[in-house]
C-alpha cells in the first residue's frame, strides 16, 4: 500500500483533487502543499488547472499520483473469450487490438481488466486511450517534475467501482455517471466490473441504454444509481469504513482516483506500461517453496544428525563407564577368590597343624609312664598309630599306665605276651595318638 497518495480527476470543465497519507490509525487526508487544502475542486479547463496545481505543489518522490479521466478520454471494450489460459487470452487480445479498438494499435495506450476467469470463460474489459492525449498529460507531469510520481491513469468509473466494490451487497450494481457530454453506464458485481458503455446525454438515448442494461442484468433496476441526480447516489455512504476519510464522490471525483490504490482490485492504467494482469507463475512459487523446503530439510537433517551424535555420544560414554566397571570387577573378583582361598587355606592350615604328630612329646610321655625296667626295642609310627615292641616285668601294667595318658587312645596289647625264663615278658603294644 502506498503511504502518500494524491488522487486527481480532470475533465474539460473541472479539476478535483484529494491527498492522503497513511498514519498509525490508517489513511487520513493531508494537504499536498502550501496554499492547498487536503482536497478541493475547481472549475475551468482541467488540463490548465492540473498544470497550475502541479507547479505549485512541490514534487515528492514518495508520493503516488493517480489520475482519473472521463470516458470521453478513455474508451472501453467488453471482450468475452472461451476457457483458455490467461496468458493465451492476453496474447489473443493483444494480437487483435486492431479489431477491438477503433484506433490503430500503435496510436493507443491500453490496459486489460479481467472481470471474470472461470469455467464459463474469460470476461475482460479493454481500456484504451489515444496516445497523444495521454502524452499531453505526461508532458504536464514532466514539465512540473512530477513524472516519477504518476502511477496510474484510469477511467473514473473504474475508480468508483473500486470504491464501491465491497460496499454494495446486491448481485449487480449499475451506475449512470455523466462525464462531459456523455453518460456512462457501468455495471459491477462481486466478480468485478462487468460492463461499461457510454451514451449521449439525451434522455431517450440514456433510457434505451438503461433498458438494454436492465435486460442484460436482471434485477439491476433495484440497485441502479443515477450519480448525477440530487441524492441519487449513496455509494459514498455505503463504501467500506477505510474509505470514509475520502471526500464524497458526488462532490469530488478524486476519491475515485485514489480508491483502486487502496484496494486489492486489479490495477488499471492506460499508459506505456505493460498490461497489469496478475498471472500466477507457478515457477515463482515453486522455486522459493523448494528453496525453503531444502533449507527446512537441511535444518531438520542437522537437528536429526545432532540428536544422532548426542545419542551415540551418550552410548559411547556409557560403554566406557561399563568397560571401566568391568575392569574394576575382574580384579575385585580375583581378590575375592584369593581371599576365599586364603580363608579356606587358613582352615586347612589349622587342620594340618593339628594333624602334625607330636612324636617327641609322645615318646617322652611313654618314657614317663612306663615302669622301671621296661624298655622298648622297636617303635613304629604310621597314620596316627604307634606300635611298641618291648620287654618288662608287667605288660598289662604298662598298658594300664599308658591308658592313663591323655595323649593316647585305643591302647592295647598286640599279639601274645611271651614270658622268658628270667620272668620278663615280651610284648607288643598298639596305641593311637589322640587327635585334638
Amino acid at each position: 500500500m502506498k503511504k502518500n497518495i494524491l488522487g486527481i480527476y480532470i475533465d474539460r470543465d473541472s479539476f478535483q483533487y484529494a491527498a492522503a497519507v497513511k498514519g498509525i490509525s490508517g489513511y487520513r487526508l493531508k494537504r499536498p502543499g502550501l496554499g492547498y487544502r487536503a482536497c478541493g475542486t475547481d472549475k475551468g479547463n482541467g488540463y490548465a488547472l492540473l498544470k497550475k496545481f502541479l507547479k505549485e505543489v512541490p514534487p515528492d518522490r514518495s508520493r503516488s499520483v493517480y489520475l482519473a479521466l472521463p470516458r470521453s478520454q478513455i474508451f472501453a471494450r467488453e471482450i468475452r473469450l472461451p476457457v483458455m489460459p490467461l496468458e493465451d487470452a492476453l496474447m489473443s487480445v493483444q494480437n487483435s487490438l486492431a479489431i477491438y479498438a477503433h484506433l490503430a494499435p500503435e496510436t493507443i495506450y491500453y490496459d486489460i481488466y479481467v472481470a471474470r476467469h472461470d469455467k464459463d470463460g474469460i470476461h475482460m474489459l479493454l481500456f484504451y486511450a489515444a496516445k497523444n492525449e495521454i502524452e499531453k498529460i505526461n508532458k504536464i507531469f514532466s514539465d512540473t517534475g512530477h513524472t516519477a510520481s504518476l502511477k496510474g491513469i484510469l477511467p473514473v468509473s473504474y475508480g468508483i467501482f473500486a470504491l464501491a466494490d465491497k460496499g454494495i451487497a446486491s448481485p449487480y450494481t449499475g451506475v449512470c455517471l455523466h462525464q462531459e457530454d456523455v453518460a456512462e453506464f457501468f455495471v459491477f458485481s462481486k466478480n468485478g466490473l462487468l460492463f461499461t458503455m457510454t451514451a449521449p446525454l439525451y434522455e431517450d438515448e440514456k433510457a434505451l441504454l438503461k433498458k438494454g442494461v436492465v435486460k442484460r442484468f436482471p434485477g439491476i433496476d433495484k440497485s441502479f444509481f443515477d450519480f448525477n441526480a440530487i441524492g441519487g447516489c449513496d455509494i459514498s455512504r455505503n463504501c467500506p469504513q477505510h474509505f470514509k476519510f475520502l471526500p464524497d464522490l458526488q462532490e469530488n471525483l478524486a476519491s475515485a482516483a485514489i480508491a483502486p490504490a487502496l484496494t486489492k482490485v486489479q490495477p488499471v492504467s492506460v499508459d506505456e506500461q505493460p498490461v497489469r494482469i496478475k498471472f500466477i507463475h507457478p515457477v515463482r512459487y515453486i522455486v522459493p517453496f523448494i528453496c525453503i523446503l531444502v533449507l527446512g530439510l537441511y535444518i531438520l537433517t542437522g537437528n536429526v544428525e545432532k540428536k544422532a551424535d548426542q545419542a551415540e555420544s551418550e552410548f559411547q560414554e556409557l560403554k566406557n563407564t561399563v568397560t571401566q566397571l568391568e575392569n574394576k570387577l575382574a580384579p575385585l573378583q580375583k581378590k575375592i577368590d584369593t581371599l576365599k582361598k586364603a580363608a579356606s587355606f587358613k582352615q586347612d592350615v589349622k587342620k594340618i597343624v593339628q594333624s602334625k604328630p607330636m612324636m617327641y612329646s609322645a615318646i617322652n610321655e611313654i618314657a614317663r609312664l612306663v615302669p622301671e625296667g621296661t624298655w622298648f626295642a622297636g617303635f613304629s609310627y604310621h597314620d596316627g598309630k604307634i606300635l611298641l615292641r618291648g620287654r618288662g616285668s608287667d605288660a598289662l601294667g604298662t598298658v594300664e599306665l599308658l591308658r592313663s595318658s591323655d595323649m593316647f587312645v585305643n591302647v592295647g596289647l598286640k599279639g601274645s605276651v611271651n614270658r622268658s625264663s628270667t620272668g620278663d615278658e615280651r610284648f607288643s603294644i598298639s596305641l593311637e595318638l589322640k587327635q585334638e
Binding site: I290, L300, A311, S380
Partner: protein, 182 residues
Amino acid sequence: MISKRNKQWIAGGTITLLLVLVWWVNFYSPARAGIRDAQEKRDIYLGKKQLLEKKIEKLMEKQAENMIHEGEMHDFADLLISGNNIEEVNAVVQQQIQNFFKDNDILLKTYRVLNTGKWMDYDMGRLQFAIITSHRGLSRLLKYLEEMKQLVKIEKLNINYNKGREHSLHVNFSLETLFVNE
C-alpha cells in the same frame, strides 16, 4: 490438454515429492534408525551398568567379610617352605634336615625322595631318611621336627634298638611337606 501452468504445478509437486522422498530415504530414515539403534544400545548398556554396580557393591561387601589381615598372610607365608615346585620344596627340607644331622652327630645312611603325596587338595612333598643315632640324637631330632614351625610332619617313623653299640638306634622316617602353588 494440460496447460503449461498446470504442467509446472505438476512438475513442481513431483520435484518436491522426490526431494522429500530422497531426503527421507537417504538422510532422515537412516539418521532416525541410527538414533533408535544408539538408544537401544544405550538402554542395554544402562542395564549392564546397573548390574555391574550391584555386583561390585556385593563383591565389596564380600571383600569386607572375607578380609584377612596382612599379618595373617605373613604367618601363612612363614608356615610354608619356599619353592616354585615340589622338587624345590623337597630339596630345601632335605637340606635343612641334613644340616641338622651334621650339627647333631647323626649318621645318615640313606635318603630318597618319594612320590608326591596328597593331603586334602594339596600336594605333599615326601622324603625318606635312614639314620643311625643315639638316644640323645633321636631326642633332638624329634624335638626339632616337633618344634619346626613350617608345615613339615612325620609320616612314618620306625625305631630299632641295637644293644651294645654307641649309636644303637636305627631310625627310618619319612617326612611330608605341604606345598602350595600360589
